[in-house]
């Protein structure tokens, strides 16, 4: 899961592409924060927003607006891979003449090193690659000289063959994650923010963890059908954590773009002072209920909670209404999405269910993290739980330790706030990671509801084998979703839209559905 305030789907662009754009020169952007600028480590939307233009993967996504932005296209690969009939072997050939930004030639073995480097450096994305044959054994004893037998490379022929232990329908999207971006085999396993050469249209020219970073053109980059040369000559990124200050910078003309979440009361005022674009990102905000812990081990209590929440009101108080009320696990940007209407707002019914479950007065601790929108939502939730007859109190944890604490079986966390922003556009990124009972672990567990249903688990495992999301497969996913929500391990409440703020001088504002604002296609009016 990407852990920062940044989703990765898109709405239609706010302004049509303009062929007669003026040159951008230096684009001055403001980000609230990033985690890393190292492809094997970075795992926030903000980092990926920048790094997508520096590091290329075997497969990538088109620089287009709307749903087409979810389409996988060849990146470093010459073409889409050949996949064996059993769905376990993937064969790629690299494009000829590829060079890194330091001028060195890209080798097929660099891909293997990138995957190995992830395991050696305990990168944040290694969990995605454990189905590669030999990866688990390598992960158990990672050494530089060790081998991942499932990755076979031939530098002369520029071929990469990846063998899986079992078929995975989402494996192509996993290969398109930046964790799998090839890096020179001489790259050390230490975290090297902004120092690792890439193959994309830009390269990092400076990085300061407290101030920001700069990207300039990569002179060795050659545009392809899917990866164009970017419009800005240079991108200057500053870190400004305070959303008010970030917004003010754009209004004052000190920045061209800010990704900072504009405070709800300022949005209406700010929109007249720049371009406000609402980015429709694939995310779901929800309250999880631990199905192993009383009183949420009772279905009626979980259903009561779903009935008690006024989702529209919650969207209004948390981000001024910039979110869609939802009862679904999947966001509406997915083809598998079928709108669920299982729980209409009904407090009386909720109270009745609590009484029927014999849970009146049950003590509940609501968990949330130290971020203003999460605190507001959890305060509302605590008030709702108290209103329907439970005895709820709130426990706020620091941002950094929140997920690891609630994901630890020893915490016995009963219920709380969570959100999910897609890593890649596939239902497996939601159902398999968040609600497959077979994947529950005692620590760092992502299934905060500890939900496990034999029927659902089996269906998810079966759907993993589907290579293509056909209408029939999508229908099966919709059935899985309904089955899950009938058991109500979650109370989903919002698909948030993110305000992106540009100065009045900016034009050609494009949103790539997965990576957000497409900086390569920005231009000045």
């Amino acid at each position: 899961m990407m852990v920062a305030a940044y989703g990765v789907a898109a709405n239609k662009s706010s302004s049509a592409p303009n062929k007669a754009y003026k040159k951008v020169g230096t684009l001055r952007a403001v980000l609230d924060t990033i985690d890393f600028l190292d492809p094997q480590q970075a795992y926030t939307g903000q980092s990926w927003w920048a790094m997508w233009n520096v590091y290329e993967t075997l497969l990538t996504y088109k620089h287009v607006d709307g749903p087409a932005g979810y389409q996988l296209v060849p990146g470093l690969a010459q073409s889409m891979p050949k996949i064996s009939s059993n769905g376990r072997v993937y064969k790629f050939t690299l494009r000829p003449g590829l060079k890194y930004s330091n001028g060195k030639k890209v080798q097929a073995s660099d891909f293997k090193w990138a995957i190995k480097r992830g395991f050696l450096a305990t990168g944040q994305g290694v969990g995605f690659y454990t189905d590669i044959a030999g990866a688990k054994a390598f992960a158990a004893h990672p050494t530089k000289g060790g081998n991942i037998s499932g990755i076979v490379v031939n530098n002369k022929k520029r071929t990469i063959t990846v063998k899986l232990t079992k078929p995975r329908g989402d494996f192509l999207t996993i290969l398109a994650l930046l964790f799998a971006a090839p890096v020179p085999s001489s790259t050390s396993t230490q975290i090297l923010n902004g120092k690792i050469p890439g193959t994309g249209p830009y390269r990092f020219s400076s990085f300061d963890a407290n101030r920001g970073f700069t990207m300039v053109r990569n002179k060795y980059f050659k545009p392809t059908k899917y990866i164009p040369r970017g419009n800005p000559d240079k991108v200057d990124v500053s870190f400004v954590s305070d959303a008010n200050s970030a917004t003010q910078r754009v209004i004052n003309g000190q920045a061209d773009y800010s990704n900072g979440a504009i405070p709800p009361d300022r949005i209406a005022n700010a929109k007249g002072k720049g371009h406000l674009v609402l980015r429709d990102a694939a995310n779901t905000y929800y309250f999880w209920m631990n199905t192993r812990e009383a009183p949420f081990n009772k279905l009626k209590v979980r259903q009561a909670v779903n009935y008690a929440i006024d989702r529209s009101a919650l969207n209004r108080i948390v981000w001024g209404g910039l979110g869609r009320a939802t009862q679904n696990v999947l966001p509406p940007t997915y083809p598998s999405y079928t709108k669920l209407k299982l729980y209409s707002h009904n407090v009386s019914k909720a109270k009745q269910l609590i009484n029927q479950a014999g849970a009146k007065g049950a003590k509940v601790t609501v968990w949330t993290r130290q971020v203003s929108d999460a605190i507001d939502a959890a305060q509302y939730y605590t008030s709702v739980l108290n209103n329907i007859g439970l005895d709820a109190k709130l426990n706020i944890l620091p941002r950094a330790t929140y997920y690891s604490t609630i994901g630890n079986v020893a915490t016995h966390a009963q219920t709380g706030w969570a959100r999910w922003l897609e890593d890649y556009p596939h239902p497996l990124d939601w159902f398999d990671v968040l609600l497959n009972g077979n994947r529950i672990t005692n620590t760092d567990n992502n299934n905060y509801a500890w939900y496990s249903s034999a029927k659902t688990n089996k269906e998810i495992e079966g759907l993993k084998k589907a290579q293509v999301l056909t209408p029939a497969v999508n229908k099966r996913w919709a059935t899985v979703e309904k089955q899950i929500m009938q058991q109500a391990p979650w109370a989903p409440w919002s698909n948030r839209v993110f305000p992106e703020f540009f100065s009045k001088k900016m034009g050609c504002i494009h949103i790539q559905r997965l990576y957000g604002v497409d900086l390569m296609r920005l231009c000045r009016k």
Partner: protein, 362 residues
């Protein structure tokens, strides 16, 4: 050395004066003299009065919430309407929304019900916050929590600091060294940083040691944390005074007459520093209220949704442009409380011992 011009003592001078004017000189206790000085200090008395008004108002928060505002401090009223001067108004209005007809969001700022000033039958007198909660009720409950922590931690802190100072000052030597180093260690950390560090460490599981069980979210946690981090700020100056008193003849005489350590500490040393302790106690309450406000502002003090003046200021920050009262009102409450305590504390110091240099130095 020159001989004194006269061998008149104060007693004999008083006798002469009384004979001359036929006036009886009445012996006054130091406490009476202090009170006489204090009651002439109108500013200090007014400050004390203001502090009592604030304390009483906050103590009566449940009465106000139940009988006047008809809501609890954490009750959310989003989606409700309230009649103000006969007109129905949204508790929270405006806000952006998704227009299904156009398929686009209509961007609007949310509006919060401002102070109704008794035009809504006691409801939302000071307006609402972003969750539709009654600000007046939350400010009073917040004050209750802030004052309970401020006064509670001042009592604990003063008691512990005084005990340690008496032990260090009486026994001196190794005991003094040990206690002084303990003070030094705490003193070495900035107060707020140390308090945040301890509070964060206790945030997940609370405190369950030495037979003491405090759950996370309990008001005892910030109370004890604040007590602990401020111990040297009272303990060190009092220790200095006790060390000085320990060298006086009357202490030597008491020990010579066979008085035990406890008797010397509590009958001879303590009465001589009680005025200083009293002044420190008054001033440390103000310091503790500020520390609590700082901790709660940073999310390490009173846990939301329970209010305190500090977390109310923090919660209102995002609405500072559209609903400035959310941060302003608890801010004013803190200023008035701390100011009244500091002015009274200064007045008390002047009354008890005008030459004393009693300050909480941080």
């Amino acid at each position: 050395m020159a001989e004194p011009a006269t061998d008149l003592t104060f007693d004999s001078a008083a006798l002469l004066a009384s004979e001359e004017h036929e006036v009886t000189i009445v012996g006054r206790s130091p406490w009476y003299l202090a009170w006489r000085r204090l009651r002439r200090n109108y500013l200090a008395l007014a400050s004390l009065g203001l502090f009592f008004v604030i304390v009483i108002a906050c103590a009566l928060a449940p009465v106000y919430a139940h009988h006047v505002a008809h809501t609890g401090p954490n009750d959310v009223h989003v989606g409700e309407k309230v009649r103000v001067d006969g007109k129905l108004k949204d508790v929270i209005g405006g806000g952006s929304f998704y227009d299904v007809n156009t398929g686009k969001f209509v961007v609007k700022a949310p509006t919060y019900l401002g102070p109704t000033w008794w035009h809504a039958h006691g409801r939302f007198v000071l307006g609402t916050d972003n969750l539709g909660r009654d600000v007046a009720v939350r400010v009073l409950y917040g004050g209750r929590n802030s004052l309970m922590i401020g006064i509670g931690s001042a009592l604990i802190c003063t008691f512990v600091a005084l005990t340690l100072a008496l032990l260090a000052g009486y026994y001196r030597g190794g005991c003094d060294w040990l206690i002084s180093r303990f003070f030094d260690i705490i003193w070495a950390f900035p107060v707020l940083l140390l308090a945040i560090a301890i509070s964060s460490a206790l945030a997940i599981n609370g405190f369950h040691h030495f037979g003491i069980n405090i759950e996370p979210g309990s008001l005892w946690l910030p109370t004890l944390v604040i007590s602990y981090v401020l111990i040297p700020y009272i303990g060190r100056p009092i220790r200095g005074q006790i060390l000085s008193l320990r060298e006086k003849e009357f202490i030597e005489a008491a020990i010579g007459q066979g008085a035990g350590p406890l008797r010397v500490m509590f009958s001879d040393l303590l009465p001589n520093i009680v005025s200083t302790v009293l002044v420190f106690f008054t001033l440390i309450i103000a310091a503790n209220i500020l520390t609590e406000a700082g901790l709660s502002y940073l999310g390490a003090g009173v846990r939301l949704p329970d209010p305190s003046w500090g977390n109310l200021i923090a919660s209102g920050q995002d609405q500072i442009e559209t609903a400035p009262w959310l941060s302003l009102i608890p801010g004013i409450a803190i200023v008035l409380t701390v100011l009244s305590l500091n002015i009274f504390g200064d007045g008390l110091r002047d009354a008890l011992d005008p030459r004393a240099k009693v300050r909480i130095e941080r």
